[in-house]
Amino acid sequence: MFQIALIVIGIIIVLIVLISLADNLIQIEAKKTGIDTEQTNMSLWPRISSLAKAQGPSELSNFNFHKLKKGHNIKITGQATGEVVDGNVTRFAVRPTNFRGIAPIPKMMVEVGAEVKAGDPLFFDKKNPDIFYVAPVSGEVIEINRGAKRAISEVVILADKQQKYKAFDIPNLNEASRIELIEFLKTTGFLGNIIQRPFGTVADPSIDPRDIFISAFDTGPLAPDSELIINGRYSEINKGIEVLSKLTSGNVYFSCHSSQAELAKQISNAEVNIFEGPHPTGNVGIQIHHIRPIKGSDVVWTLSLKELINLGNLFNAGELKQEQIVAVGGQVQNPKYIRTFKGASIGELLNGQINSNNMRIIAGDILTGEKVEMNQYLNGYDDQITVIKEGDYYEAFGWLLPLKPRPSVSGTFPNFLFPDHEFEVDTNTHGERRAFVVTGQYEKMLPMDIYPQHLMKAILTGNIERMEGLGINELLEEDIAVAEFACSSKQPLQALLREGLDYLKEQV
């Protein structure tokens, strides 16, 4: 036994010596022929740096590459496909309740019956009277609906056939100061599109954000293809970045997926990072954590890709064209892309698409979206509608022997055998709420150096120091949505996190 081990070790040593010799000869030859051995690996051994660090596609080698492994892509049926069609939606609404952080009852600037142009102010925040919230389309204000406690729930506009845009006096980017630019953005209502972290409120113009982050892709279930949103509008994107870079004393970070090489190469004025990985990799919060995490009293702004293009268009063309694409997907007749404006009517977007009455309509995706009715409207941030069946049925021994396939991260389902299967999901909870039992489950679904379960417990006990220490400032609901999906104790993580954020905001 011992002799055999000696012989094996001897053979290995001889092999290593031989390979090293060959390796040296190659290096000498490479020097002779003038190949730069610093840049290209001319050795037979892999470089330690290349082993330790994930490598992106070679064409993107001059950008920072982040390969994330944690998370899970929930594959469901009904991805929108095909050409973008015109929606011909007639009713649009602005919903004050969607803008987190503004006073509950905004001051109205228009009345029912008023004619507005796209970009005309509709109301302002009583806390910040100079920040306007504007009409997405031109037309007639036909309803101002109020909800609980007389708070204004939506301002509805009947759109004109031919859109009219308010003419803005565009500041000259080369000369304008930050303050002038902010004053201009206040009047255009654009600040409401910028989300401020921590807390996920609308941007506070009195704050100079540390950095501004943009994610150019969405990894969520049935998310619209970002190529359709971009549609070759690189000049708008770059213009938008130029504007943003004037708003911060820090950097503008632009994150692309590794498949968006074309886009990454077009970007100027921003630091480009390349990401790859399952959902929630596309979430800007996850990307911030890997680029430059939010620490201490840092405040950063984030902006969606479609708003970046709208911002660029505002400065290029001088009009606030709040156009967007909506992916109508899920269990609908015909999943498709619709071109429309922000705040479009759900009923009109889903016209003829639903043939059962026991369906749930979700503005947004199945993880973070909001349950809505046909007579409601999309909020400004959404770019998809998902329709799925309600799951209000009893299932015999459903916990033990499920008959219908369902998405799961658990190895107890044979799902790993069918990695590309698209599930027809419903809203059944598949079990009852329990205390936290299983550990390590959330960590697998959140590609951040954060302990979500301990953070949740800190929130439940109201321990502020621990909440901050465990990174609550780096998180918004969307980031832990996959963990909530996977939770076998059926805990409402997003609601808990929001509770913690609200509590924290109140205290500091």
């Binding site: 973070t368 299932e395 021994f397 809203t427 550990t439 465990l470």
Partner: protein
């Protein structure tokens, strides 16, 4: 759908009969997944819930149940010197095993579930599945001849003091199954320690003693006589030289030589040796462990680090070599005792283990490390996993605390 309608018809009123309703709800949710739908947050939930998690742990230990039952009978007849072949006297061994195991299983589960139901009703929430696993584990870690009243007491202690006092499933600090065993261990040591207790069916293990058969054996004897099969013979006696000592007991006295005088390594590996009911067969436990690992239910970090910890300590003890037991070659330590059972089913309990991944490495390693020390150095009781796991259960929150603190420090420092 007929069954569903039947259930809906007999559903007791929640306000008028809260206890009955709790009971009904417990059974109803086993038969049918509830029709609840997501309300806020995610709209679609993973198919995995706690019931499914727990049942997979129970499924993973079914082979241990099968083998354990049969082995109880096998050991009984080995003592009598009858049917020495493993499959000889199959029906007798199986029946004897069942006669021993079924009461243990029924008592453990009825007592445990009754407490669970009562507390669920008192707190006004649904019955939680926590006892599903504990109730399946407890029979496997008890000696086959344990008196029922001691078993019942130990289960009451474990569930009331160990779990409900802390707030129920998910809140307990110590592993419930092990707590019931440690209760027996300290309160009634003669029923769970020594050479006498691991072979069932005898008043005392000494040569010439006759087996004690009860009414159940008599009942089956009639059946066997009718079917013209061999039957239980209360006149047979324990053969000379049979001690009932487990390999570990032998090793602690005389080292590996003393063990191999009595048992072959294959016998120990496959599990045809005396011991607690479910812990003797290593391959079957490893199959269970592999099921848990493949489904991702148990933590591979804990299992691997516990194995590493035990190997490290066994090595160190080899190097020390002060007693014959320490000189047992390290790999043979794993042929004896319940290391694999503890690793697969006890240490990996997510509630009582460390909850951080780094913590799991430390936790598992220390269990392996300390458990081996207790096994080899403790003069009174040559096995250590129960005590090591309970010890580390106590320290798991502390381990997590330091892991969490370092994460927090990293974040606050760079601020």
């Amino acid at each position: 759908m007929g069954l569903l309608n039947f259930f809906k018809k007999i559903e007791p009123d929640k306000k008028k009969r809260p206890f009955l309703h709790t009971l009904f709800d417990g059974f109803f949710t086993i038969a049918y997944s509830p029709n609840s739908v997501t309300s806020n947050g995610v709209h679609v939930r993973d198919g995995m819930d706690l019931k499914r998690t727990m049942i997979h742990v129970v499924l993973a230990m079914q082979l241990c149940y099968l083998f354990g039952t049969y082995n109880v009978g096998h050991q009984h007849f080995l003592a009598l010197g009858e049917y020495p072949g493993f499959l000889e006297g199959f029906h007798l061994k199986l029946v004897h095993g069942l006669i021993k195991l079924l009461p243990i299983f029924i008592v453990a589960n009825v007592v445990g579930l009754a407490i669970e139901f009562y507390f669920a009703y008192k707190k006004g929430h649904g019955i939680e599945e926590g006892f599903l696993v504990s109730g399946a584990l407890i029979p496997l870690i008890m000696p086959p001849d344990i008196p029922m009243w001691i078993l019942a007491l130990s289960v009451i202690f474990a569930v009331v003091i160990g779990k409900e006092a802390f707030g129920g499933t998910g809140m307990n600090i110590w592993n419930v199954a092990l707590l019931s065993r440690v209760f027996v261990f300290f309160a009634y040591p003669t029923t769970i320690a020594g050479d006498e207790v691991w072979v069932s069916g005898f008043e005392k293990i000494s040569a010439g003693n006759n087996p004690e058969y009860g009414w159940a054996h008599g009942l089956f004897n009639k059946l066997f006589e009718w079917a013209d099969l061999a039957s239980f013979n209360s006149a047979s006696a324990i053969v000379d030289g049979f001690t009932g000592a487990t390999p570990l007991a032998l090793a602690s006295k005389g080292g590996w030589g003393a063990v191999t005088d009595v048992y072959t390594t294959a016998q120990m590996w496959w599990g045809a040796i005396p011991g607690s009911i479910g812990e003797t067969s290593k391959p079957l436990i490893i199959i269970g462990a592999l099921i848990l690992l493949a489904t991702g239910i148990a933590s591979w970090r804990i299992m691997l680090s516990m194995l590493l910890g035990a190997i490290t300590m066994a090595w160190l003890l080899n190097a020390w070599g002060a007693t014959p037991f320490m000189e047992v070659p390290w790999q043979y330590q794993f042929y004896m005792g319940s290391f694999f059972f503890a690793m697969a089913f006890m240490a990996t309990d997510p509630v009582t283990a460390s909850s951080t991944n780094t913590g799991k490495w430390i936790y598992g390693f220390l269990i392996g490390f300390i458990g081996m020390i207790v096994r080899v150095i403790n003069p009174a009781y040559p096995e250590g996993w129960m005590l090591a796991i309970l010890f580390l259960n106590t320290f798991a929150p502390l381990i997590d605390h330091y892991v969490i603190e370092s994460n927090m420090k990293k974040r606050l420092q760079n601020a």
